[in-house]
């Protein structure tokens, strides 16, 4: 008995249904080869191991990482027989596995972004010195979150921190991180800084932060970004495009806000400066007042000095006057002596006499004859005499 015949198409359809039932989705790991992008819409490649090779097919927009031949990958897809009888795995997601592949992809993407100038220093914006609203993108149940919050709470207060909970590793992480960054950018009242943090991990664990979409979301953010991923030595592409890079979540907290203890000390100093400045103003004013007083005193100084000079001059007068007096006195004295010498009565004391005829002193015989009466004044006494005769001269 011959089995029922079916058409080729029917057979392929049955096979596809059977496979769909058995393997609705399958995850396969292998090596990539023959990677070919067609018209920038589809990718054809082979996935293989040591013994076997399978064709794969996927749309380009689902390729989230640079891929090169030789890379180890993990693909998720469903098996299919094409109408040409060709077996193909329709891939809906592709991940790199193995450090080699991951590092290689990292290098490729890094080179591409660097060429676009996305790592340039001139792109970086400064974070606000005293932010008030923070947008935090992280896994809330993580040690990174706990460390970050502990340091922030110790350092500063008055903040409002909006936490966008996301996965920070695994397949869905990149999409969630992108969505959170975009959401913060679309808020009506935007935050002052977007902080993206995650703790340490393997290269594979940190992959989400080397994802191109995540990097571009950070680049596009209108709000300044602070990224702290992994440990000191881990530098992800997200770190490189951030406005500020923190080495760790703790470092992120320190770069985000200042330390209130430092600010307290600074306030002390400022308060003292203020007091000193006021002292300066007062001192300046008092100096000015003093200077004005001094200037004014100059105006009282001159009259005072004039007075002094005049008093001195006046004080000199009595002496001069005395001298004058002394001079006059001796002059008077001299004159007195002279006068005294010339006093007729003084002559009398030397034996001379004054002879008067009829009341007048005479010095010759005019009017004198015998019988005239003469009065003779001596130094002491007076003689009444009658002339008996006269004679010429005193030979």
């Amino acid at each position: 008995m011959t089995p029922q015949a079916i058409s080729v198409t029917e057979f392929v359809a049955i096979l596809n249904e059977t496979m769909q039932f058995a393997f609705p989705s399958v995850v396969i790991e292998g090596e990539v080869s023959g990677w070919k992008v067609w018209q920038n819409r589809y990718v054809y490649f082979d996935i293989k191991d040591a013994k076997t090779t399978l064709n794969c097919f996927m749309p380009v927009y689902l390729v989230k990482t640079p891929v090169e031949d030789g890379m180890d990958v993990r693909v998720e897809g469903s098996p299919k027989l094409t109408d040409k009888g060709r077996f193909s795995l329709t891939v809906k997601s592709l991940e790199l596995t193995g450090e080699g592949a991951i590092r290689r992809a990292f290098e490729l993407l890094k080179a591409k972004l660097e060429q676009e100038g996305l790592f340039g220093y001139e792109r970086k914006r400064a974070l606000p010195e005293y932010p008030i609203r923070i947008g935090l993108v992280t896994a809330p149940a993580s040690a990174a979150y706990a460390d970050f919050m502990k340091i922030v709470n110790a350092r500063w207060g008055g903040l409002t921190i909006e936490v966008a909970p996301v996965q920070v590793q695994g397949k869905v992480a990149p999409d969630q991180i992108v969505a959170a960054i975009n959401a913060f950018n679309q808020e009506a009242r935007p935050v002052d800084v977007i902080v993206v943090i995650r703790g340490g991990g393997s290269l594979e664990d940190l992959q989400a932060f080397n994802n191109e979409a995540v990097v571009r979301a950070l680049v596009a953010s209108r709000i300044p970004t602070l990224v702290g991923v992994g440990h000191e030595v881990d530098i992800s592409l997200a770190d490189l495009v951030a406005d500020v890079r923190a080495a760790t979540p703790t470092d992120a907290a320190q770069r985000l806000v200042r330390d209130r203890r430092e600010l307290s000390q600074q306030l002390e100093v400022m308060s003292q400066n203020l007091g000193r400045a006021l002292d300066g103003v007062l001192a300046l004013r008092s100096d000015q007042i003093e200077a004005t007083l001094r200037q004014l005193s100059q105006f009282t100084e001159r009259p005072r000095r004039l007075l002094e000079v005049q008093s001195a001059r006046l004080a000199a007068y009595p002496r001069r006057f005395e001298q004058q007096l002394k001079l006059s006195a001796s002059q008077i004295d001299q004159q007195g002596k002279l006068l005294h010498a010339m006093n007729p009565r003084g002559v009398l004391s030397r034996g001379y006499s004054i002879t008067r005829l009829q009341g007048r002193a005479i010095r010759d015989l005019a009017g004198v004859k015998a019988g005239s009466e003469l009065v003779i004044e001596l130094h002491q006494g007076i003689i009444d005499s009658t002339v008996t005769g006269t004679r010429d001269g005193n030979r």
Partner: protein
Amino acid sequence: MATAKTTTFEFGKKLQELEAITAVLEREDVDLDRGLVQFEAGMKLVAELKAYLAEATNRVEVIKQKYEA
């Protein structure tokens, strides 16, 4: 319904105001009366800023919305 604060304390701005006041007082030509007024305003700012540093705490809001692809 979230109760938003009607006025947010802008620490940075107030610190700048304080620095400006000190700068004014350090100038030679400030009037004494004005200087005293400025000084008082400055000390008031110092008190406000100190109080903020001592008392302000942070508020954390975990966003409920899920971030899907």
